[in-house]
């Protein structure tokens, strides 16, 4: 049975992972794009990304575009798998609750 992932379940990190996973596997989102989309500050997003990076769930790619530094964020295959398991665990809880409700009702 799929297990809940405490690191991913935190609301901001859940949104970060959902945004990354909703794209193609090789997609990279720009740091500022992710920050604006989720309504976070640089520091807040950076702190959450560090935790996800330490767990091996995301990868930060630093590059230069028109001589300006840019940071892109991508999910790793480990992160994609962990997120899929977390979603499966959430769905299992919801379905189990529904089944219980039907039995009781």
């Amino acid at each position: 049975m799929a297990k809940l992932n405490e690191l991913i379940h935190q609301p901001v990190r859940l949104k970060i992972m959902a945004a990354l996973i909703s794209m193609e596997d090789d997609a990279q989102l720009e740091f500022t794009y992710l920050r604006d989309m989720l309504g976070l500050t640089d520091g807040n997003l950076g702190a959450h990304l560090r935790k996800l990076e330490e767990a091996g769930y995301v990868q930060l790619v630093k590059t230069f575009v028109a001589r300006k530094p840019r940071t892109y964020v991508a999910s790793t295959s480990e992160g994609q798998q962990a997120f899929a398991e977390h979603v499966a665990a959430l769905e299992a809880i919801v379905y189990a609750g529904e089944a219980q409700g039907e039995r009781d009702g």
Partner: protein, 186 residues
């Protein structure tokens, strides 16, 4: 870690909303705008091809394609992707391949009339839409198939009105589809 059913439901809802927002952002990233732009160019080009003399048709299309290319470059700059993906590279390669091969086939086929050249080019471009549709957005594949069918039917059945048909059915379908995708992802 204990999570209640309600909390699990809310988390799944958050995931769904973020994914939907991402899709909307990507949809706004240019694709449908290109469809509207090139639909308008087709509409004007084919409409003018119907009414102006053959010798001016080349200039009409040259001017419109130049405008379309400049406008596409602007759209590319305006919506330059905050999302990097290998699929962007594959798109660019696909269009280069389509243009290269259509040039070869045009040279080999040597179409004798404007209508023949047009139906050939239309089929090449719509083939690219079908391929893109198979990759990403199913609507694009339908657009490709429908416009190809319109082009072939107009060419075979009502050749005198071929350009007029392509203005409304070809250009119109492209514009309508662009607006449809924009609305769908709103």
């Amino acid at each position: 870690m204990d999570v209640s059913r309600q909390e699990a439901q809310e988390s799944l809802q958050v995931i769904h909303e973020v994914a939907a927002q991402m899709r909307r952002n990507v949809a706004r990233g240019g694709g449908p705008y290109y469809m509207v732009l090139w639909g308008a160019i087709w509409f004007l080009g084919f409409l003018m091809s119907h009414f102006v003399h053959d010798i001016y048709q080349g200039w009409v299309w040259l001017t419109l394609v130049f405008i379309g290319t400049v406008a596409s470059a602007y759209l590319g700059y305006r919506f330059r992707s905050k999302v990097r993906s290998q699929i962007d590279v594959r798109f660019t390669h696909l269009w280069f391949a389509i243009i290269a091969y259509s040039s070869i086939w045009m040279w080999l086929a040597q179409p004798k009339t404007g209508e023949q050249a047009s139906v050939l080019i239309t089929s090449f471009m719509m083939f690219a839409y079908v391929v893109i549709g198979l990759w990403i957005e199913r609507t694009a594949a339908w657009v490709g198939l429908i416009v190809t069918a319109f082009a072939l039917l107009s060419y075979v059945l009502i050749r005198d009105y071929y350009f007029l048909c392509m203005a409304f059915l070809g250009g119109g379908t492209l514009m309508f589809s662009g607006f449809y995708i924009l609305r769908k992802w709103k």
